[in-house]
Symmetry: C2
Subunit: 206 residues, 2 copies
């Protein structure tokens, strides 16, 4: 069903549709419309119809979208109709927050292990995880077949750890370190840096 | 110098240029090029030249960009040639991580205060901050003239707290709660939800 030629900017909106639909389903709702989704997301109804039409016919003219059906389709398109194991690197404040975050459940991801390089942290518990020694990262992650990592190490260590993750077979990295990682073709990186978002907003402030 | 008609997608790239240039300056570099910036960021050199040309003439053909000059200009455009006080709402794991995060310094933002609604947390220290009672949010934030908030409360409370923030005069909200906030025109929201980024990447995984 999915088509890899879908523009990345469209792919980037699908998780927002999914999150909104999951909330509606949770509230017991059964049907929605591109108008309602658009109002909740600040995206035009026309854009939403156009985005969704790239993947098939999800709604009928005038009757809207069946939420459960659209949810299933979006989960399938985004490959979250399964649960992905994720490795967290870095057991500092951000790693702690990630390891204890309740928001991954039912959204396609499960933290499988946590690593750090600090002898004081290795062996300690972070949430429900025992912190493992980063010296074992490559063989352990490789053996577990993990494809997704969340990188929460200091900026100076982030590139070196990234190279280990790539070596271990990781294909997607959510980067919390405030630097631009260099990765081979075929490895995806998404960055989470609060300052980038704050600066995008301060542009508009007087 | 700035022009509010600049497309938001261009505005969104400027903080990435700024972060990369700050790192180069930190490494003692003096000159760069759109080619080098492009390689570091995975953005075409032509796009970078086009983005920067919207704000004026920053580089000379063939000689590249003077890093310090471009840094100053970008800081001015993004309004981070000053320091903005920011309020953190929520003293849980994410609020903790934000309050102790070292990455705000020299990038235009300073956490001024932290609020929570939990009597167990009010009065406790989080990083260098004493957690304040959210019951006092509106008058305290208003009196301090704070325009930017980071919202790290549970999803169920996020919309109600947002309305208080707007009442207090906040104009920009960095939202860590996994819901879409509804705000009046003129209030900006940026969302940080790791699952949105993870799902954007899992689309491309087999």
């Amino acid at each position: 069903m999915e088509d890899k030629s879908i523009p990345d900017i469209v792919v980037g909106r699908l998780p927002l549709y999914l999150r909104t639909l999951q909330r509606m389903a949770h509230e017991g709702r059964q049907v929605t419309s591109s108008q309602e989704l658009g109002e909740k997301l600040g995206i035009s109804a026309a854009q939403i119809r156009k985005d969704l039409s790239q993947f098939g016919e999800f709604g009928k003219q005038g009757t809207g979208y069946r939420i459960e059906f659209l949810l299933d389709q979006l989960c399938s398109i985004l490959h979250v109709n399964r649960v992905w194991d994720v490795v967290v690197i870095g057991a500092g404040d951000v790693g702690h927050a990630l390891a204890r975050y309740q928001g991954f459940a039912n959204r396609g991801f499960h933290i499988a292990m946590v690593f750090d390089s600090d002898p004081q942290k290795i062996g300690q518990m972070v949430g429900e995880y025992t912190v493992q020694d980063i010296a074992n990262l490559v063989p352990v992650v490789q053996a577990a077949g993990i494809r997704i990592a969340m990188l929460a190490v200091p900026a100076q260590q982030a590139q070196a750890v990234t190279e280990q993750l790539v070596q271990a077979g990781v294909k997607a990295i959510l980067n919390y370190a405030p630097i631009n990682l260099t990765v081979p073709t075929g490895i995806q990186v998404q960055d989470i840096d609060p300052v980038i978002h704050l600066q995008r907003m301060s542009f508009y402030l007087e």
